[in-house]
Symmetry: C2
Subunit: 217 residues, 2 copies
């Protein structure tokens, strides 16, 4: 509680960064419901820091669209309108189709193997009805593929979209009761194996837009 109570002499990653990263992960993985309120003092209490780092972390998340700031300054996770959800889905399609396209020529067998492993975990999460686990491993599947695109700015932008959709995705996957493993992921892997770019683009676009179309309907 004192000023320099930090005993870990390791690479202290600056308090606000720790708070930021933890909250960001929580939001992206859908661990917070849409419209849920957060308070600076509450965050400070949870992470054992003062309001200052909590404020910086919240500001940053607001800037990324992960949190909503009311006119009176209260912060909460956003409740997205259908228009906004459709737009974010279109952005996912735009960005992720391009990323997958760029990753294709660099996708070797080791990557495809890793994707298949991750995909097995995705299927497991689906069968367990673990919404957060599903979202987390699903995003890991996509990120693993897109990392091969060697396009960090584009990947960062895609992750920002994921972040904005986080709470909504949780609401979506909690609502729709699927137990079948993701079909589009298999199409993506097959297209990667075949070096089939049009097929890959189509599969990614379908995978990215399918779930959100259901939510809007």
């Amino acid at each position: 509680m004192s000023l320099s109570a930090r005993s870990t002499s390791e690479q202290l990653p600056s308090a606000h960064d720790r708070v930021y990263r933890t909250l960001r992960t929580r939001i992206m993985h859908g661990e917070i419901a849409p419209g849920e309120a957060l308070t600076l003092r509450g965050i400070g209490r949870e992470f054992d820091v003062s309001m200052t780092p909590a404020r910086e972390a919240v500001r940053r998340l607001v800037a990324e669209g992960a949190l909503f700031l009311s006119s009176s300054g209260r912060v909460s996770t956003p409740e997205l309108s259908n228009e906004r959800i459709e737009e974010l889905a279109a952005l996912r399609a735009l960005l992720e189709v391009e990323l997958s396209s760029r990753a294709l020529p660099r996708a070797h067998m080791a990557l495809i193997d890793r994707l298949q492993t991750i995909n097995a975990t995705v299927a497991e999460m689906v069968s367990k009805r673990d919404a957060v686990g599903y979202i987390r491993t699903n995003l890991e599947f996509h990120r693993t593929l897109y990392l091969r695109a060697q396009a960090p700015a584009m990947l960062a932008m895609a992750e920002t979209v994921w972040l904005q959709l986080g709470p909504t995705m949780r609401a979506l996957y909690g609502r729709l009761r699927r137990t079948e493993p993701p079909h589009n992921h298999k199409l993506i892997i097959a297209a990667l194996k075949a070096g089939d770019e049009p097929g890959l683009r189509l599969a990614v676009r379908s995978d990215v837009t399918q779930g959100l179309k259901l939510l809007v309907a």
Copy 2:
């Protein structure tokens, strides 16, 4: 200097927001050179606020990629690598082609007139060799068109890319010595008039990528 020295009883837009908006505009319009350093106390002094709002504004701009944060916490405008510039140009192409495409069916004569007026100002800035004025009016041209797309999230993302390219654009347009008015803008207007979507997409893509290709070369 005192606590509540705010005499303007208007809609006080919260100090950090005023600082944020001013700095953001400056950066986007290329008024700050790449690599230029900023200090929290310096910002506070300029805007007559304490470090707290200055910090929040800077944090927000860092989150948007408009400012670079060194490992020791010093902030400066980013000096972009060629790879990053190419990536951001690709993002501009991706997002703005889509935005223009969505704006096309809603583009009526009043909009085209406005674009032509703005374009005349762009040409004037070019002939005056006013780099900042050129960047500002050029972005106004694009924003005016994209506003018609009714896609706020997508437009916000495009503006984030502009923001990241701000200081670099200034360096670019200061370096290349053109005096001819923008040809691609005329192609964009012509395609809008003709309702020619493929032509519009091509013209926007060319306009967005041409300048940055020169910088990289």
